[in-house]
Structure formats: C-alpha cells, structure tokens
Symmetry: none
Subunit: 142 residues, 2 copies
C-alpha cells in the first residue's frame, strides 16, 4: 500500500511537534516559507525526493523513517525437500538476486506454458540430485 502525500505530511507534522519545533523553525531549516511547510503537512503540495531529504535533515531523522513499515527483503529458508509445501499465506516474498539469477528469472518468466515450467523445475531438481550424488561418490573415493 502506497503512502499518500497527506499521510506523509501528517507524519512530518507529528514528528515536528514531537520535537517541539514550530513550522517557522522547520521552514528555516528546510529553506522554504513556513506556509510551504503547512502545505506539505496538509498534503496540499507534493513532496519531491530532494525536498523530503531536506525535511528529514531539518528534523534530524532518516528518510527511511517514512518507509519503515515496508517489509524488508526476506531471505527464504531452504525447503525440507526440494519441493517445499507451499504456505498459502505467503504468495510473494522478496529475495536479493545476483545478475545470473536475474537472467534466469527473466527467462523463466517468459515461459507462458505451465507444463514447460513445471517440467523445467523437475529437470532442475534431477540435476541437483545428480550433482549431489557425484560429490558424495567423489568424497568416498577420495
């Protein structure tokens, strides 16, 4: 859910008051008129990316404060088996990816045929299986 300017403005106001700071003082720190601060707080005017940084600095807080509620990228846990039981609650999580993995995904997402996708995954799990067996036998004969 995206945050509206009105919501962000209210947050600015809340923080400003919590700091016992007047609109005038904040305006001074930001470099605009205090009436302009009012507009930001009311959500009348949009807040640009540069402006939010000035405001955050004047308030002595981090810009991230305004997006803290966003869920951070979560690292998924390895599945028990190769096919993990899907949990209905979560259908989308975020993972940090490297370039190779991005390429993999870009290609995979182009495959519209579901059976082909499923087949690929099955094949992939076979490869993984093979690689593991090989490493095991290597280990035994080493």
């Amino acid at each position: 859910m995206i945050k509206t300017h009105k919501e962000i403005g209210s947050e600015i106001k809340r923080i400003r008051k919590a700091l016992g700071m007047s609109q005038m003082k904040l305006a001074e720190g930001v470099g605009v008129s205090f009436q302009q601060i009012q507009k930001y707080e009311k959500g009348v005017n949009k807040i640009s990316m540069e402006m939010i940084q000035h405001i955050a600095r004047a308030l002595g807080i981090s810009v991230n404060t305004f997006f803290e509620k966003e869920k951070a990228p979560v690292i998924s846990e390895p599945p028990m088996k190769y096919y993990s039981k899907k949990k209905n609650l979560i259908d989308e999580i975020s993972l940090p990816l490297n370039q190779e993995e991005i390429t993999l995904l870009q290609l995979f997402r182009k495959i519209e045929n579901k059976k082909i996708r499923e087949g690929l995954i099955k094949q992939l799990s076979g490869i993984v299986e093979l690689e593991r067996e090989k490493s095991v036998s290597n280990h035994l004969t080493r």
Copy 2:
C-alpha cells in the same frame, strides 16, 4: 549528502536495465508515458514521494533501495571502516517472487558447477526462443 533527482534517476535507469525492462514497460507499470520515465531518469523532472513508490513497485524493489546508502542521523562521525564496503547494487536487487520462482531459485542455487548453471541458462533461452516462434506461427495461422 543529499541525493539529487539526477542521481536518483540514474539509479532507476540502472536498476531498470539490470532487470531487462524497457522504458515503455516501466512506464506502463507506473502509469505515465515512457517519455516521462525518461525525464525522471535524466533528472529533468522532480520525482514526488508518491511517484517513487509507484516506480519502486513497478520495478519490484523497495523504496528504501534509494536511500540504503544514507547514513542514519549522526551525532559524531563514525570511523571510516564501517562504511568502506561499497556494495554493487546490481548484484543485490530484491525481487518479489512467487512460490514457483522461489523453488526455481532454490534449486538453481544448489548447483555449484558454474558450467552447468551457464548451460541451463542457455538451454532456457532456447526454450523461450522456441515458445516465441510457436506463438508467432500460431498468430499467423489464426
């Protein structure tokens, strides 16, 4: 140090390209013309707080990505060594994934042999190729 719109725009462009996404496609996801995306990327137009959220969503990343490097409000400057690690963003993009894609990734990550991974991607691109050709011929005979 505050980030200018130009810098933020460049970051958007870099991420978009890393994801293999065209301006058109991004524009579509954001809900503006692709020329408007150009202006954001060039820093010609300011990016509002609401707009950055739409852009982030269309890119499948968190808004915080644009402020990750930001230092939290500092009273005294911390030692340099804690900041020394320069992280390459392209190698650390977070994407929302569905269950099938997560499975794919988890399997792919188990493959330690680089050649096998590369071969897989090559094979995958071949499949994509095939599927596209098929859809083209379907379209022609339809």
